[in-house]
């Protein structure tokens, strides 16, 4: 499925860009994220626990950044494996633009799910991702302002 949208952040673009590389801030902002660390200049690994309707899945996530252009955006590809419950994978384009209030971040992601997560949770993916993204940005903005 496709998840795309944008969000205006009342923070200057350079700071948003730096914060996108701040693994600790992302971990604190992402609900259910238990660990997240850089394993190379452009690769992240961590653990996230998510609830899909009746099932709760702990994902081992791996992400890699491509085509990064300073303060403008990057492409990020990730996989999330939840053992016997299946997997999710995504590829997303992230783009930053200056706006009057600060910076607008655009995201355009293709998400695939598999196994029991698709079997039980695909119907819930849309509403769930909207909620996760909204909560993430709220916390992300709050974190940047600290």
């Amino acid at each position: 499925m496709e998840i795309s949208g944008s969000r205006v952040l009342p923070v200057e673009r350079a700071k948003v860009w730096r914060s996108l590389y701040d693994a600790d801030l992302i971990r604190e902002s992402l609900s259910g994220c238990e660990s997240l660390q850089w394993v190379s200049d452009d690769e992240l690994e961590g653990d996230v626990t998510l609830k899909f309707g009746a099932i709760k899945a702990k994902f081992r996530i791996q992400m890699k950044i491509f085509d990064a252009v300073d303060e403008e955006g990057y492409r990020i590809a990730g996989s999330a494996k939840a053992g016997v419950l299946g997997f999710a994978s995504s590829e997303a384009q992230i783009r930053l633009e200056d706006v009057e209030q600060g910076c607008e971040i655009y995201y355009d992601a293709q998400v695939k799910t598999g196994g029991k997560i698709a079997q039980i949770g695909s119907r819930l993916m849309g509403s769930m991702s909207t909620k996760i993204i909204d909560e993430f940005f709220d916390a992300f903005v709050a974190g940047m302002s600290e």
Binding site: V84, G114, G115, A118, Q119
Partner: protein, 787 residues
Amino acid sequence: MGDTGIGASVRRKEDLRFVQGAGKYTDDMNLAGQVHAYILRSPHAHAAVRSIDTSAARAGEGVVAVFTSEDMAEVGGIPCGWQVHSKDGSAMAEPKHPVLAEGKVRHVGDPVAVVLAESRTQARDAAESIIVDYDVLDAVVDMQVAVTDGATSVHDDVGTNICYDWGLGDKEAVDEAFSNAHHVSTLDLVNNRLIPNAIEPRCAIGDYDHATGQFTLHTTSQNPHVIRLLMGAFVLGLPEHKLRVHAPDVGGGFGSKIFHYAEEIIVTWAAGQVNRPVKWTADRSESFQSDAHGRDHVTTVELALDENGKFLALRESTLANMGAYLSTFAPCVPTYLHGTLLAGQYSTPVIYCEVKAVFTNTVPVDAYRGAGRPEATYLLERIVQVAADDMGMDAAEIRRRNFIQPDEFPYQTPVALIYDTGNYEASLDKALEAADYAGFDSRKAASQLAGKLRGIGIASYIEACGIAPSNVVGSLGARAGLYEAATVRVNPTGSVSVMTGSHSHGQGHETTFAQVVSEKLGIDFDSIDIVHGDTDKIPFGMGTYGSRSIAVGGTAIVNAIDKIVAKGKKIAAHLLETSEADIEFENGQFVVPGTDKSKAFGEIALAAYVPHQYPLEELEPGLEETAFYDPKNFTFPAGTYVCEVEVDPDTGTVDIASFHATDDFGVVINPMIVEGQVHGGLVQGIGQALLEGCSYDDAGQLLSGSYMDYTMPRAADVPSFTVDTTVTECSHNPLGVKGCGEAGAIGSPPAVINAILNALSEVGVTNLDMPATPHRVWQAIRDAQAS
């Protein structure tokens, strides 16, 4: 035997234990020292398996063993029980169906590894830590894509995704008839893929006795001897005397428990490896992605007619989904259980059918209640309705005009089958009368006033039950015989135990078969027990499917009873000091007509086991006989269903206003049980027509994998049915029975869809695929209005 014999609505014996919660199902069994198996399944529809790291799982708490396909190198693949040949004479493609994935996974749910642990939770936790390195490949899901050149292959060694390209009938004659026809009606349709959903999920327990080398498999099966044969001979290499297969109470099958599944092999083999019983029970999600699915055809059908609406020829072309592997009887479902039924109740002179069976990255597809016959009936009764509409004819009249007439039996169809008996117009008339067909217009007018669209639909179905005879099905590719066996054991004091190869998983055999015995032997119904489901107790029999139990299994019992009576006459003749020819058996008494000399059945039984006054020099003691019965032909139940619906054009909701079924099942043993079977079948058919639809996304992920997304019919979705029968007796079995298990599911989908399309005709909708969900109906109405 009046109130317990043939024709009596005897209450079901088995319900006493079922309603008390005292049924004994496989999962109710727990063996001392058992370990629990968890099966790690593929989350991908199509992927190469680069490596499987089980080291962490092996070290998991409570883990007894972890197995992958490497450990099972000595174990054979899962065999297919039917080989179909293509038009060109070549055998179907039959790629290996490994028990655990070998280098590749081919559908979501394909078993990859097995963990045995002291508890189910420990096994599952350990499975979490198995690391499988998948190289994800493109999945092929849509059959129409799968058959194109360059499509991804499900099986590299097959090359294409076509399992076989089969044909039946005289193509030249059909093409000729079409080219000269007054009118040709054409229809493209989809027979939607279904997921079986028996109440009881599958379960299997393997047990091994190292002292005797004896293996036992307790399993949810409709045919324990078939499983023993397939698993013993073709998979594990176990001789039959060292392998017992036990299928105790089974909570519904509908075909899905005919087949030999990987889990049965896994628990039996693993029990030998770890020398402890091994238990596996599916959870509901697992059932969705590992029980064989049903239907899934994409079809084009054409009917040629003359100016009077007489059918001249029928032509069908179908893609039939096999899924990723060939399940046990999958190849015969869209061929010999489908193409051969295309005459229906009609005297269509020439018919041609071609079916391409297609591999896709989906769960295997196999027989499901009706198996091939619902698909044939659906396309036929849909195209007949299209033809009636095209020609401006009444739905009942076009059928009446084309029915095979009662004096034409036995009737040779152009698609191999020979119908023995039937009276199709009798069922049609009875159903139309019950449905007040003549009064439909006034009901339609009333609906109109309420802003609703009302429609009426007819389906006149035929089915072929009790698949037979063995030599014929063998020539068509069956790798098994299709007889049935029964042992009738008269105990010394006159009670009777009947060991049958048929299996009851909801049908009520323990009652119906006892009624037959009670009638034939003239003994008390309560002194008869029906024993089934255990290869250590019953003679080698083929099990229950295809509505065969009473026609084939029941006949085997009758034949064994005939042997009992024949021997009883010899014993009676000796005791009554007369000749055997003078003895008659009636109402439980061996009598010499015209005299007062008689011996009760119980006296003969006792004499047979306490042979003090007994012709020992001529006759063995004891009173126990076995019969194997191989039918001469199929049986041909047939009937007409009339469905009336009311559609809300604003919401697309379909309400089934009434449903009237008239079936000819031949002689009915227990009308109450038959009515229950019809009700169940109708609900399943209405489920297919209105609610149920298995859905995969393009990547082969199962989207309808729970009851949140796969809609089963509920009581509120169906009306109170009117069910009635007509009777023409089957000519080639002694009971005159035809079978009733599948009819409801076969005849109802076209009746419902014809009714909906009749209702929607006034808003311009001419075609609609199942399931006719409110969204789909609403969309069809909007699309028709837009065009």
